[in-house]
Amino acid sequence: MNNGSMLRFYGCFTFLGLLVGGLVVLGYYKDEYREWKDYQRKFVQEEIHRAATPQQKAIAESTPVEVRQILLPELNRVDRCTTCHLAVEDPSYGGYQQPLAYHPQHEQHPFEKFGCTICHRGQGRATTTADAHGAVAHWDQPMLPLQYIQASCGQCHEAADNPAAPELGQGQQLFETSGCRGCHKLGGAGGNLGPELDKVGTRRSPEWLKKHFLAPAAVTAGSAMPPQKFSETNLEAIVLFMLSQTGQTAPGYYASMKVIPSADEGQRLFQQKGCIGCHTVAGQGGKVGPVLDDVGLRRSPEWMLQHFRDPQSVTPGSVMPKFGFTETEARALTEFLLHLRERNLASTFPSLMSPVERGREIYRKYGCAGCHGAEAKGGVPNPNAKTAEQVPGLIRVAEGYTKAELKSRIVKGQREIPALEPKRPPPPLYMPAWGAVIKDAELDDLVAYLISLKPKGEDLGF
């Protein structure tokens, strides 16, 4: 072993040793430097700056620089947003620049119970701005733009009943009345001409949805969906409602908050639990219990609540059973009874409505208007259909069909629509078979409605 080769060895050892050591240091530095640490230091500085007493200053100075997280096992989430957004709970930071701004109106949704991403989306586990805000490759839940934040309310609460999310309710209303369900399934109900919408809110961006509503074929080549003529506010509302469709069901505690105890919900419960078996409202119902039309004038809300919890506790000898209503249900029913007189029950309460009125609701419920137009007047384009390139209106079906024939048309549908010119592509819209969806009583009511549409004063004069 000569000196020269030994020295070469030592030289290589030194070089490679330093290289590996240098890389380890570089790797360590790169790992140690995290942008959230800068934000935390800024926060600590602000706290020190604000400190009025030496004690406060000492507390501020000893604030540890560390990852903060909200563990939400029930939601299968870990939200580390508060690692940078340190002052979300401190009102004195109102009006500060992000990430140090205060989050107003969080009293009903405390952070330790809800975290952040359940409403704002984004990537809760991430600790860099880009990754956390979620507009990065391979993360399918970017943050919801603030203007659409109401969409998140729909995950836990009924869209229609939420006084804090009026636009969401408006969106749902639009969805149900514009005939969307004629082609699209949502929550298991609807047609199959278009795609299911159960998870559309996680698949599509607001921009995409907007473009799609105004000109579907421009975004999705070959789409048969007719362009929708929504006003700007309606467009925003329906986009909002679409964004709220995440297909996720909130677990446990969060699901129990689904029902907002509104009068609408109370009315649904009143109908569902069969209250009119014993009680009369608007002139209809059983005679076992008292008439309820004026109960709002006779009883206080507190009395009613207690009555729903335990009827005998406020009315000794009452034969009304303990239904075991939840507190929310009891409050919803109370709300309904209090406002009973202001509500037009005859037109909204299915068992008080006439078959024709119920049929109109069913026509809306299943989205028939999507193709056959509002009030069945027709006018929706269906290129190359023999019927004037439109989906036919239905106001004159009474002249050409018996009730049985109409029912059969609805149940079986019509897959092949006669073409105006055989050489052009076949008409994109067709009549789905509704037999598996619309059944029995609903079908009777729907047909009654369609028959009733025949214009008055146009009786067969020949």
Binding site: V20, V24, G27, P195
Partner: protein
């Protein structure tokens, strides 16, 4: 010789009472100690005390086998660290990847090292196989060590493939779905093999559990054992192949010729390559320091490369695995993309016959190609036929892999990688 300060310090420690109790021999100063350094150390004694100068030529072996071994060691080290965090459940696996990236100190670095070392190991083991082929080093007496080597190559693929599923992202889920589907094409046993691998018909929790067990226990243990046997055989078969060796194998002396009434030492039982009989000592140098130092330097170099890759490039992690949204196209891990390309022409021929024949040919190779001419030299003229056939197969494998990797877009249609792939619109 004026040894540097650290060396002198080390020397002092090694010669101290504590040092001697650990190392038995201090830093060797004489040839005797250089031999003892090798034979008295558990870690070093798998190598001979002296090695042939030819074995040290970097241009001959390129150190490919050693680099593979080092990558394996790095993989074990980083793998154990990853195991401290990883939970093999479909609900948690992906989250642990995110936690490694965002909150675990050096978590991302360790994962990156593991990922890149794994890819490198597949590549290096393959290159090592090529080196052994092109130098004819699989011939007598090393036939069986070649077979073990082919087994190690397959084990490496198995290790990489089972690890591929563990992050439980889209990439993992669909690569394993495609990969196990290829296994399903084998006749008669294919679907059974797939079922046993996955613990079901589709990739799910059962598959993850099995892949995890295979990845962290079964395959590494097997690989470690086989690496040990592989190295041991290298020594027993006479060290690295070289041009001037005789090609004799260890021969048993017929019982009649054995001396009587003796306890048999190795020298009396065996002849041929293994014991250093009839070798010219001038061609050999002491393993300490010539071999050992080179090995340590190479280890440092490999560590540096892996660290460098891990610092500057992140391991991929796609969306959470979604069984109802396959990416288009869904691709197997890169080393199986040649196979997937072949399968796209014919599942049976591409997925079963050709790979089956290739593996069989590799295993039988040393027993079919038995002439000793050209051993120990790269691209020896005497081996032009064998080398040409091997090169053709290798080129075909590379071409198909490159096509499968870069030239296949949605629906496995041909795309040029330098052109924007056509946008995929969701059909109504």
């Amino acid at each position: 010789m004026n040894a540097p300060f650290l060396t002198r310090l080390w020397q002092k420690f090694a010669r101290s009472r504590v040092g001697r109790s650990i190392f038995r021999v201090g830093l060797p100063q004489s040839n005797l100690e250089r031999s003892q350094a090798m034979t008295s150390s558990f870690l070093l004694h798998i190598q001979p005390a002296k090695v042939h100068k030819h074995s040290l030529k970097a241009g001959y072996s390129l150190g490919l086998g050693l680099i593979s071994l080092y990558l394996f060691i790095i993989l074990i080290g980083t793998g154990v660290l990853l195991m401290f965090y990883y939970v093999p459940s479909t609900a948690s696996a992906y989250n642990t990847m995110k936690d490694l990236q965002f909150v675990v100190s050096a978590g991302l670095l360790v994962r990156n090292m593991h990922r890149w070392a794994a890819h490198l190991m597949v590549l290096l083991v393959l290159l090592h196989l090529c080196r052994v082929f092109y130098t004819g080093a699989y011939k007598r007496p090393r036939e069986f060590n070649w077979v073990i080597g082919v087994g190690l190559f397959l084990l490496t693929l198995g290790l990489s493939f089972t690890g591929y599923l563990l992050p439980w992202d889209q990439l993992a889920f669909w690569a394993i779905t495609v990969g196990t589907n290829i296994a399903g094409y084998a006749p008669v046993i294919g679907t059974k093999v797939k079922y046993v691998l996955l613990g079901g018909n589709v990739v799910g929790q059962e598959a993850l559990t099995r892949f995890y067990a295979l990845h962290v226990i079964v395959l590494p243990t097997l690989a470690l054992l086989m690496v040990a046997v592989h190295l041991w055989r290298v020594r027993k078969d006479g060290g690295l192949s070289r041009p001037d060796e005789s090609g004799e194998v260890v021969e048993q002396i017929p019982p009649g010729q054995l001396p009587v009434n003796k306890s048999y030492g190795l020298m009396e039982l065996a002849r041929g390559t293994s014991p250093q009989v009839g070798k010219n000592p001038e061609d050999e140098v002491f393993s300490w320091p010539h071999l050992v130092f080179r090995e340590i330097l190479l280890f440092l170099l490999v560590t540096a490369v892996v660290l460098f890759l891990a610092i500057f490039w992140n391991a991929p992690l796609e969306e959470f695995a979604n069984p109802i949204h396959p990416p288009n196209p869904a691709k197997a891990p890169w080393y199986f993309l040649g196979l997937q390309e072949l399968v796209s022409y014919s599942a049976f021929w591409g997925g079963v016959v050709i790979p089956g024949l290739l593996v069989t040919a590799l295993l039988l190779l040393p027993y079919l190609d038995r002439k000793r001419a050209g051993v120990g030299r790269w691209f020896a003229r005497e081996r032009v036929v064998a080398n040409s056939i091997f090169t053709l197969c290798l080129l075909a494998a590379i071409v198909f892999t490159v096509i499968g990797t870069l030239f296949r877009g949605p629906n496995w249609d041909w795309v040029e990688p330098w052109r924007q792939p056509p946008a995929i619109t969701e059909g109504h």
